[in-house]
């Protein structure tokens, strides 16, 4: 369940610290997720390629 109080606290802190650090905070967190996904996709592609190679 989403905790709206926590979200409110985060929004308040971001407002207090200004635009640039907020962009870096959100961007950094977002990119940690994106890079993890990217890594997982690449990993699956690699395992699939390896599996195909072994099979052939």
């Amino acid at each position: 369940m989403i905790n709206f109080n926590t979200l409110n606290e985060i929004a308040k802190t971001l407002k207090e610290i200004g635009v640039l650090p907020s962009v870096l905070f959100i961007g950094g967190a977002l990119y940690t997720g994106i890079l993890t996904l990217f890594f997982l996709v690449k990993g699956i592609v690699y395992i699939a390629a390896r599996f195909r190679k072994v099979k052939s």
Binding site: L20, G28, T32, A49
Partner: protein, 369 residues
């Protein structure tokens, strides 16, 4: 083609790592064991340097911006390059304002901040207009001065009989956990994790094979200087007083008095501040400029430097309301948590990027075989 020598790289890394760090008393939350926290953070920092140099090893002639676009593609890598550029600017403004505040506090209390920061920025722009090679050569000249001044300060402090080594005892009196808590992520992030900016510069080094060795050596040497600096600060001022002063090393230097002859060495602290601050700020600022230049393939670097310098100075002047806010943003918000800005860009992202590069390389080898 810009090329820098091994010693120039060594000098730049050392000046960068020493930068402002000697002026703070890092890790004092671990009380008298702060020096152990720095040593532990340095060891973890070596691991980070291995990650950074491993990334560079796969793409020896490319900087971070090129590497990100090559590995992740234009649409995923491009925004990350912009974020990295903003992060370099962000750390640069932290250093920039810090030095403005210190100069204002110690040397020029009645001069408006805009004059101090403006002059500082004009000098930086003048050096950067001449190119990165000039900055590297300047580092080569300045490093011996900084080391001589720092070591002289330590020796004179001990000779003046102010150091009381019982102040760093008992060693690990509260156990290792509080020390580890302080070391990671705060001290690993600052100053060791900041070395990520060198991914923008390593491609300029003469022989790429030596980069890792030189970086380890420079970070190790600067880490030991930081440990010495902290031991001196704690043994002279004590944990409580060191925690309450704005610039602990400055207080230590003011206490040097040898036979009423060698005294009032405040100017030494000022020189250390100027040189360290200049290199740390310039390397971050130019790192950001280079990232944008590489991403958008901008030809006229001078205009980019001018525009970035205006934004940089304006931000430093308007964003930081006072030194307390600045210290909270810089030493707490940016480095102290696992979700801090420095942790994302200095630790998490580089490790993930290296893992992606590894996988891509393994897949390529598999396809070729």
């Amino acid at each position: 083609m810009i090329r820098i020598s091994h010693f120039q790289l060594f000098s730049l890394i050392m000046l960068f790592e020493i930068g402002s760090t000697t002026l703070f008393a890092l890790g004092l939350d671990a009380k008298q064991d702060a020096w152990i926290a720095i040593l532990i953070a340095m060891l973890l920092g070596f691991g980070l340097i291995w990650v950074y140099t491993e990334i560079q090893k796969y793409y020896p002639n490319k900087n971070l911006a090129d590497i990100l676009v090559t590995v992740l593609g234009k649409w995923i890598g491009g925004p990350l390059v912009i974020l990295y550029a903003l992060e370099f600017f962000w750390i640069g403004t932290l250093n920039f304002r810090e030095f403005g505040e210190l100069v204002s506090m110690i040397l020029l209390p009645t001069t408006p901040m805009i004059i101090i920061l403006g002059t500082f920025m004009l000098i930086t722009m003048y050096v950067l207009f001449s190119g990165y090679e000039v900055l590297a050569r300047l580092g080569e000249i300045m490093l011996p001065i900084v080391i001589i001044f720092l070591v002289t300060t330590y020796v004179l402090t001990i000779l003046s009989g102010r150091a009381d080594f019982s102040r760093i005892q008992p060693v690990l009196g509260h156990g290792i956990l509080p020390v580890l808590d302080v070391a990671f992520p705060a001290i690993v992030n600052f100053p060791f994790g900041e070395s990520v900016v060198f991914l923008m510069y390593w491609s300029y080094v003469n022989s790429q094979e030596q980069i890792r060795k030189i970086t380890y050596f420079a970070v190790g040497a600067s880490g030991l200087l930081l440990v010495c600096s902290l031991i001196i600060i704690v043994t002279v001022l004590g944990v409580q007083y060191a925690n309450n002063t704005e610039v602990p090393l400055f207080e230590v230097i003011k206490m040097i008095n040898i036979a009423e002859v060698i005294t009032n060495l405040d100017a030494v602290a000022a020189v250390l501040m100027f040189i360290g601050g200049f290199f740390k700020m310039s390397l971050h600022f130019y790192g950001g400029v280079l990232a944008i230049k590489t991403l958008f393939k901008i030809q006229h670097e001078k205009w980019l430097i001018i525009v970035s310098a205006i934004f940089f100075t304006w931000f430093s002047l308007t964003y930081y309301e006072n030194l307390v806010f600045h210290r909270w943003v810089g030493l707490k918000l940016s480095i102290s948590y696992i979700y801090s800005i420095f942790t994302y860009f200095g630790i998490t992202c580089p490790i993930l990027i290296l893992m992606i590069i590894w996988l891509q390389n393994k897949k390529l080898i598999l396809e070729k075989s």
